[in-house]
């Protein structure tokens, strides 16, 4: 509610709920964006890294002589040399009790722990010269036993990667709710399945890029970086390069895709900043695609044994999971690599009323690239296990998948409530979302069509997947565990002399539309045409302190800060306008860029005139009036640790049972992100997220051999979703605003990825049902279909 008792819906000329085009798109369509990979600074050196060809090897010696004398080379630096200016880190959080990891250096010193870990850096005038010289660096390795299989990582016979840690177990969590043993004992049926989630990775089209510029003149380090969390990077660089935090500035330009890939601290990026300090000149690092595949965080790599107990009437009596995940040789810094397993435990079964739940999650080290948080952290795993088990249960008792969900889903009238994993839900809308989805897809007709086609030897499958999604995180995610990652965000807004708004927000923009949403909210709260709002993000010197854009938080948290800032500035401007117009500020409002009578809407004075008098003729203002045309407001959720949202997806597939090929025919999604600020942006977040879930469901897989060698680390061999294989995607909404903020917006960025793979897996199994075949590991490939059918 605003001071006048109106909600944003009542604001005249509201932009909330409108599909306003994003302001920065014209520039990007013309190729006039500026990504970090485009940037050039005077005296800039390019760094490339010599990377370990072995998954696990002791470094016996590094001969840099030939490389150092190569044309164009400015420096060749080993891990030991870089350690003189950069301290190591350990990726743990205190609230994940028992989580352990080993110290990680920006460049490996004594041994390399995965294929692709940097062992030396070459800085040269050009990237090509640096790469030429990299071939001349001679590293003498002693190969060490390799730990790749997470199933045997904890066996006593398996070597321990970091002997000082005692074993290869990074973290373990147990959770029990209700009486699980009794619930399984009373079940009419117990169904078990083992679910596999292959390793995949982000493949942002612009690889990771940073340009570090240490200026010894003022002792300041400026880092231009494609990152989702600039203040986090500022803190980490200051800490490990021994600089005062205020002497580190992180600036984000346009970012060519992030998806969680660019929210972490990468050893080679820290090394680039350290090299800039060491060499006292700008150093640019842009990962090439081959490097990206072996160093960008990988995701998932889980094996989950699941059990469900069910009664003949469809009632679920218990869920049980045993999750095992391999995270590479280190827990990533500073967010750690245990969060995904934690979220698998937190979210499994969370859509359903069943109170009996037992979970174990184990996180193990291995000699592969590191894994960490990637779009929809843990969600696709929890959703696929839950929804996969429910479909198997429905099949066992001969019940339609819709009906079994209806009988177990948490009712829309049951809120607030707490899940069996202890998650607190303010208000969700599973029932309304499912009703809407079934109507959108015309479920009954599809079932009839499926039966008719099946009689002709055409095998189609329909799969459903409902899910919960965690958004708008409070400090419960990272802050409580000791990580200096802000859960609060802020917006500063000022009225400039021309009567336009200049805004700085601590959330960041990588294409999701955070800047557009911020502009919409500000324009509405303040009362100005959106063309007169300019939003800047991603600059630690100039924006308020904040978290950035990750975990579906930019609209819900940054948007609320913008709403409060816009309202506050309106009051400040009206105070001055009242003095000029000799009117009570309470009787005035701002609408369409002019001060108006609140009651009638009659224009009293354009904003330009208020600004002109304020800035250039303050002598004409009454005594005691001091205009404050800059305001800052912050927001952080406090009542709930997370604003959970929900949704449901459906997939229609057709399988060629001779070749095993799967064709995605249609995909539907209904999600509930509360107040929808920009419906087009929400739809496109959902669509993009879905395709990011369809990729790993059918194509994407980082394939390692037993020696820890990535076998398909390039874009020709690692399959990503391309336009020809992807279906049209229909998106619908239910809107249940959170009461915690005035705006009521929750996140939407990860909903698509959360449920897509589960919907496809269930659809594939539905199509294969006549053959009794079941597939519970992704990616589902033609080969796995043929194997399930017994053809190979």
């Amino acid at each position: 509610m605003t001071e006048t008792g109106l909600t944003f819906l009542d604001r005249p000329n509201s932009y909330i709920g409108r599909a306003v085009p994003r302001p920065n798109l014209e520039r990007l369509t013309q190729g006039r964006g500026q990504y970090v990979s485009d940037m050039v600074l005077p005296r800039m050196g390019h760094v490339t890294f010599v990377r370990s060809p072995y998954a696990h090897a002791r470094i016996l010696g590094i001969d840099t002589g030939a490389a150092k004398s190569h044309k164009g080379v400015l420096a060749v630096v080993t891990g030991a040399e870089l350690a003189l200016v950069c301290t190591p880190w350990i990726g743990v959080l205190t609230h994940l009790k028992g989580l352990k990891s080993a110290p990680q250096h920006p460049i490996a010193i004594k041994k390399a722990c995965w294929q692709g870990e940097a062992v030396a850096a070459i800085v040269a005038r050009t990237r090509a010269e640096a790469e030429d010289a990299a071939e001349l660096v001679h590293v003498e390795y002693e190969e060490l036993p390799v730990v790749t299989d997470m199933e045997t990582a904890l066996d006593p016979a398996t070597p321990v990667i970091h002997p000082e840690l005692g074993d290869n177990l990074a973290w373990e969590r147990l959770h029990v709710a209700g009486d699980v043993n009794a619930a399984f004992a009373e079940a009419d049926h117990i169904i078990e399945a083992t679910f596999g989630f292959g390793r995949h990775t982000g493949v942002t089209l612009e690889p990771r890029a940073c340009l570090a510029d240490y200026n010894p003149g003022d002792g300041r380090l400026t880092v231009y970086q494609g990152t989702q969390a600039p203040h986090m990077i500022q803190n980490v660089l200051a800490k490990h390069l021994d600089l005062p935090e205020h002497n580190v500035r992180v600036v984000c330009k346009d970012v060519g895709g992030s998806f969680g890939i660019k929210v972490h601290v990468y050893a080679d990026e820290v090394a680039s900043a350290a090299l800039s300090k060491l060499l006292r000149r700008p150093v640019k690092y842009v990962a090439d695609r081959i490097e990206s595949f072996v160093t960008d965080i990988h995701a998932r790599d889980h094996r989950v044994r699941g059990r469900i107990g069910v009664m003949n009437d469809g009632q679920i009596t218990a869920f049980e999971i045993d999750d095992l995940t391999g995270i590479g040789p280190y827990s990533m810094y500073p967010r750690t690599s245990a969060i995904e397993a934690n979220q698998v435990v937190n979210f499994t079964g969370g859509q359903y009323t069943c109170p009996n739940y037992r979970a174990r999650a184990r996180v193990v080290f291995q000699n592969k690239n590191v894994t960490c948080q990637y779009r929809a952290v843990g969600h696709p795993i929890a959703c696929s296990v839950t929804e996969g088990l429910i479909d198997l249960a429905a099949r066992r008792i001969g019940m339609d998948p819709v009906e079994i969900r209806r009988r177990n889903i948490i009712g829309d009238d049951a809120y607030p409530c707490v899940s069996s994993a202890g998650m607190r839900f303010e208000k969700l809308s599973h029932e309304a979302a499912m009703a809407k989805l079934l109507e959108m897809m015309d479920y009954e007709t599809l079932r009839a069509e499926q039966a008719a086609l099946r009689a002709r030897g055409i095998y189609r499958g329909i799969g459903l997947a409902s899910f919960i999604e965690v958004t708008n995180p409070s400090a419960a995610f990272y802050g409580v565990g000791g990580a200096r990652i802000s859960s609060q965000d802020g917006v500063t807004v000022k009225l400039d002399a021309g009567g336009a708004l200049i805004c700085h927000s601590s959330v960041t923009e990588q294409g999701q539309g955070a800047e557009a949403v911020t502009a919409q909210v500000l324009a509405t709260a303040f009362g100005i045409p959106i063309e007169r709002v300019r939003v800047t993000t991603g600059d630690t010197d100039n924006t308020p302190y904040g978290g950035g854009t990750w975990a579906s938080r930019a609209a819900g948290i940054g948007g609320e800060a913008a709403w409060q800032a816009g309202k506050a500035l309106r009051q400040n401007v009206l105070a001055v306008a009242g003095a000029i117009l000799q009117a009570q500020p309470a009787n005035l409002d701002i609408c369409a860029g002019a001060v108006v009578d609140a009651a009638t809407g009659r224009e009293r004075m354009p904003l330009e005139e208020v600004a002109r008098i304020t800035y250039f003729r303050p002598d004409t203002l009454p005594p005691g009036i001091q205009a404050e045309f800059v305001v800052t407001r912050h927001y952080v959720p406090k009542q709930y640790p997370f604003a959970f949202t929900n949704g449901i997806q459906a997939s229609l597939v057709e399988i060629d049972v001779e070749t095993g090929f799967i064709r995605l025919l249609r995909h539907w999604a209904v999600e509930d992100c509360g107040t929808i600020i920009n419906p087009q942006l929400v739809d496109e977040q959902v669509r993009g997220g879905i395709v990011q879930g369809l990729g790993p469901a059918l194509f994407e897989h980082c394939i390692y051999d037993a020696q820890g060698q990535l076998l398909n680390g390039n874009m020709a061999d690692y399959l990503v979703p391309m336009s020809a294989e992807m279906p049209d995607i229909e998106v619908g909404h239910v809107s249940t605003p959170t009461a915690e903020s005035e705006l009521g917006a929750k996140g939407a960025g990860e909903a698509g990825t959360a449920g897509a793979a589960a919907a496809v897996m269930n659809a594939v199994n539905d199509a294969l049902a006549p053959f009794g075949a079941v597939i519970t590991s992704i990616p589902i490939t033609p080969k796995s279909v043929l194997a399930a059918l017994g053809h190979i």
């Binding site: 599909a19 085009p21 994003r22 920065n24 798109l25 014209e26 990007l28 369509t29 013309q30 190729g31 006039r32 964006g33 500026q34 990504y35 990979s37 485009d38 090509a128 982000g202 493949v203 942002t204 089209l205 612009e206 690889p207 346009d254 970012v255 060519g256 895709g257 992030s258 998806f259 090439d288 695609r289 990588q510 294409g511 999701q512 539309g513 087009q680 942006l681 496109e684 669509r687 993009g688 997220g689 879905i690 395709v691 990011q692 390039n714 874009m715 020709a716 990503v720 979703p721 391309m722 336009s723 020809a724 992807m726 049209d728 995607i729 698509g752």
Partner: protein, 163 residues
């Protein structure tokens, strides 16, 4: 590595420079000529982000050596934007939010324009087929197909009127 003289037409303007024969066109466009709208995603000819037009045909500038452009007409997103040739596609992408991070967009627009010049009224499947060599991680492609379809319809209507 000895450099070679190279001259070609770039967005209607004659350019002359010396380049090492091993360098690909995308690097020379970006680093030597400052046209950073041509993006590099894979340097392997797979992702399509570096798509430019050479003598009227779309090519992957990461797979073409700069010295192979001797005497050619090279057009990049900057030139096609300034000439207004792809303005309708750019507007359709903007209005439909058919781009998020924008990194694939120059290549997408040049490839889409190539389709519409060959085939004025493509089906949605036809659009998906033609665009299948251009990778987009953000949108899921649906909006891109919509934007291209809408542009095709507009160009078609415009053509019908002028006929």
């Amino acid at each position: 590595m000895s450099e070679r003289e190279l001259s070609f037409m770039l967005n209607g303007e004659a350019v002359m420079l010396r380049v090492a024969p091993r360098r690909h066109l995308a690097d020379v466009l970006r680093e030597d000529l400052g046209l950073t709208g041509t993006h590099l995603g894979c340097e392997q000819g797979v992702c399509g982000a570096c798509t430019v037009r050479v003598d009227g045909e779309i090519v992957r500038s990461c797979l073409m050596l700069a010295v192979q452009c001797e005497g050619s007409h090279v057009e990049t997103i900057e030139g096609l934007s300034d000439s207004g040739e792809v303005a309708d596609l750019q507007n359709a992408f903007r209005v439909r939010n058919a781009l998020q991070c924008g990194f694939c967009t120059p290549g997408m627009i040049i490839t889409a324009d190539d389709l519409l010049r060959r085939q004025p009224s493509p089906s949605r499947d036809g659009i998906r087929e033609h665009m299948a060599g251009n990778y987009c991680r953000c949108t899921g492609y649906h909006a891109i197909v919509d934007a291209i379809e809408a542009t095709a319809e507009k160009r078609h209507r415009k053509g019908a009127v002028s006929d």
